[in-house]
């Protein structure tokens, strides 16, 4: 589904990603772990199409098409979704109107008619229930004054509404208490199928107890330095990242 080939990316002239290779197949959950500043969020942003980052080398292939040159909205039309680490507050736009606009713009780009209003309403209710969101929440301004947990719930609510093929979850667990973490990860798990894939980006292993990955990658200094199964996450939780850095130093 997603192939990242020798991806180099920089921001304001400073290289952050230094040759990332990654392949995610349909039905898989991959986790990217790494210390602060290793480039995890940059990778998420570059996959989503953030123009603040310049791709200097390499390609991003999504469903056999090279999407490196596509804008963020065009990538969303193809079925890529990014759950933000820090969702942006947009006063004056309600959650409901925002999601309606989003769904219908994606449908328009795909040559489909607007979603019928009753179908939209039904879906909004169903997905809000999945994320245990209050109705009142839906008429509030997008992310304005939301707590950390509410913002993340709202991100996964949008994901549930948009049903992306590839969901990139950037530090979705940060700022969540244990109840919110359960609700959010339950939402993510319910949305999982053989046709879609998830890329979980996280600093801590905690989230991976709830969203169990098939593959775990360790990202240090802009490179994937180690790949393993879910047990790798447990080792990282116990031993931190230093032992990998030492291993790398010995190899060098």
């Amino acid at each position: 589904m997603l192939q990242v080939k020798n991806l180099h990316a920089s921001v304001e002239g400073e290289e952050i990603l230094k040759g990332i290779n990654l392949e995610i197949k349909p039905g898989e959950v991959h986790a990217i772990m790494g210390p602060n500043g290793s480039g995890k969020s940059t990778l998420a942003s570059v996959i989503a199409g953030n123009e603040d980052y310049e791709v200097t080398e390499g390609d991003i292939i999504f469903e056999k098409a090279n999407i490196s040159e596509l804008s963020a909205d065009e990538r969303a039309h193809k079925g890529i979704f990014l759950s933000f680490q820090y969702p942006v507050e947009i006063p004056g736009v309600s959650v409901t109107n925002f999601i309606k606009t989003s769904i219908n713009q994606i449908r328009k780009a795909r040559g489909q008619e607007d979603m019928p209003a009753n179908e939209m309403l039904k879906k909004i209710r169903e997905k809000a229930a999945l994320l245990e969101m209050d109705r009142k929440f839906l008429s509030r301004s997008l992310n304005e004054g939301f707590s950390g947990g509410e913002k993340k719930r709202n991100e996964i609510f949008q994901m549930a509404m948009l049903e992306p093929k590839l969901a990139v979850l950037d530090e979705t667990d940060s700022g969540l208490d244990i109840d919110a973490l359960r609700v959010v990860s339950n939402g993510v798990n319910k949305l999982k199928s053989d046709e879609n894939a998830t890329l979980v980006i996280t600093h801590y292993q905690r989230l991976l107890d709830y969203i169990v990955p098939d593959v775990v990658h360790v990202l240090i200094d802009g490179r994937i330095v180690k790949t393993g199964d879910k047990d790798l996450a447990k080792v990282l939780e116990e031993k931190g990242y230093d032992w990998i850095k030492e291993e790398l130093a010995q190899q060098a």
Binding site: A72, D73, V88, N97, Q105
Partner: protein, 437 residues
């Protein structure tokens, strides 16, 4: 001959058309003398520092239409609120058009200024209200000198005007350039309710300059909501002078939507003469090209326990220019005044500009007065967020601009007006509205 000279010499021709015995003519004579002495305002006047009339005064305007031009309803239908039932007072090149209008004398009066001026029945009202609150400045004086036609609306005590009243001015382009001086008088007596929609529209690209004066009296417990839709074409300029006097427990709101026109100047003043008054001044300004809009507001708190809310939002692209000069004056006696003023602006281009000047003059010591002014750009991060949800750049920008203006649009109590304005804004931003607000 420059415009000032032309206007002064035209006054004699004007006098041949009107009843010189009328008391109002004393005011006209005085007014033309004032205008002759003072002329048009220039940038040397503090209140006109950021707005020059030079470029709109250079045309050779006709002061009176040479002949009446009949236009069909189909030519103006789209400018009327045909989706709801309204009374309509329609003027074509400054002349009342009876076949396009639908006036009333039934439960309240929505008719012509000329008939009010000439009908003895209205004499006490004219005596009581005409030219009583419009200040003596050169533009008002010019209008007063030529005052003859416009809208006259009077809602008697405890009457709720069941339909909104539209005041519509059309210019046909029959004259190479046309200057108009409409004069409106609006009186809402005790407990009366009234909604008004005003629009000036030229039907061709020939230059038009409108110098309009509206005096509005909102008596005890009365309520008037006034919507001004300013979306004229690129050669049309408007100077709108609107003065509102309010009495105890009254509510008056003026909502100004400035979306088009060459130069628009809004002189909007509120005088609070009683207690527990609420005055609302809302504005959305969205400009492009070289359009220029100047909002000059005054709220004069003259009695205790009153409120005023001013909320003006501006979005400027290309080389457009905005001016906001908002003055709040609180007299010593006006304790417990709650005055709020906000002017927020987004500049989309380096060459667009906004001059924002809030002025608070407070002589009372127990008041709550706040004002704020912001000038910014669209938030790139928010734009990116919307794009990751599949909303293309143009639509994402439009959505953010709507969100920015949303609280002002929310203040529109007539749904048909809100829908109209929302659509006009969407058209201006070049998007199809996939979102509702």
């Amino acid at each position: 001959m420059d415009l000032k000279e032309k206007l002064i010499s035209s006054f004699f021709a004007f006098e041949e058309q009107i009843d010189l015995e009328n008391d109002v003519h004393v005011l006209r004579n005085k007014a033309i003398e004032f205008f002759e002495l003072n002329g048009f305002p220039t940038k040397k006047d503090e209140d006109w520092k950021y707005t020059s009339l030079n470029k709109v005064l250079k045309h050779d305007y006709s002061i009176f239409p040479k002949r009446e031009v009949a236009i069909d309803y189909k030519d103006i239908r789209k400018y009327c609120l045909h989706e709801i039932d309204t009374y309509q007072i329609v003027f074509v090149d400054g002349v009342y058009s009876s076949h396009l209008s639908s006036t009333t004398h039934d439960k309240f009066d929505a008719c012509l200024m000329s008939s009010a001026l000439n009908n003895p029945k209205y004499e006490p009202l004219i005596k009581k209200y005409f030219n009583k609150i419009a200040p003596e400045d050169s533009l008002v004086s010019l209008n007063t000198a030529f005052s003859k036609e416009g809208a006259f609306i009077r809602v008697p005590k405890s009457v709720i005007a069941e339909k909104p009243v539209e005041i519509l001015h059309f210019s046909t382009g029959n004259e190479a350039a046309m200057m108009l001086q409409p004069r409106n008088l609006i009186v809402a007596e005790e407990n009366a309710h009234l909604q008004i929609i005003e629009r000036h529209q030229s039907l061709t690209d020939n230059p038009v300059l409108t110098n309009s004066v509206t005096e509005m009296f909102v008596e005890k417990r009365a309520q008037v909501d006034y919507y001004k839709i300013q979306n004229d074409n690129e050669n049309a300029s408007l100077i709108d002078n609107t003065y509102t006097e309010q009495h105890d427990d009254s509510l008056s709101s003026v909502h100004t939507f400035s979306l088009g026109g060459k130069l628009t100047r809004n002189n909007l003043n509120f005088y609070q003469k009683g207690e527990h008054i609420n005055s609302v001044l809302n504005g959305v300004t969205i400009l492009e090209n070289k359009q220029h809009v100047d909002h000059n507001t005054l709220v004069h708190h003259q009695q205790p326990n009153c409120e005023s809310h001013q909320d003006y939002k501006g979005i400027f692209s290309d080389q457009s220019v905005g001016v906001f000069n908002g003055k709040v004056l609180v007299d010593k006696i006006a304790q417990k005044t709650d005055a709020f003023q906000s002017n927020n602006n987004i500049l989309l281009d380096d060459k667009s500009s906004i001059n924002s000047k809030p002025q608070l003059e407070i002589f009372a010591d127990d008041v709550k007065c706040s004002h704020g002014c912001t000038i910014g750009e669209l938030d790139d991060e928010a734009l990116y967020y919307l794009k990751t949800r599949g909303i293309p750049e143009k639509e994402a920008k439009a959505l953010m601009m709507f969100a920015f203006a949303n609280n002002v649009l929310d203040g529109v109590k007539l749904p048909a007006v809100k829908t109209r304005i929302t659509k006009q804004i969407a058209r201006k931003l070049g998007v199809e509205l996939g979102f509702e607000l």
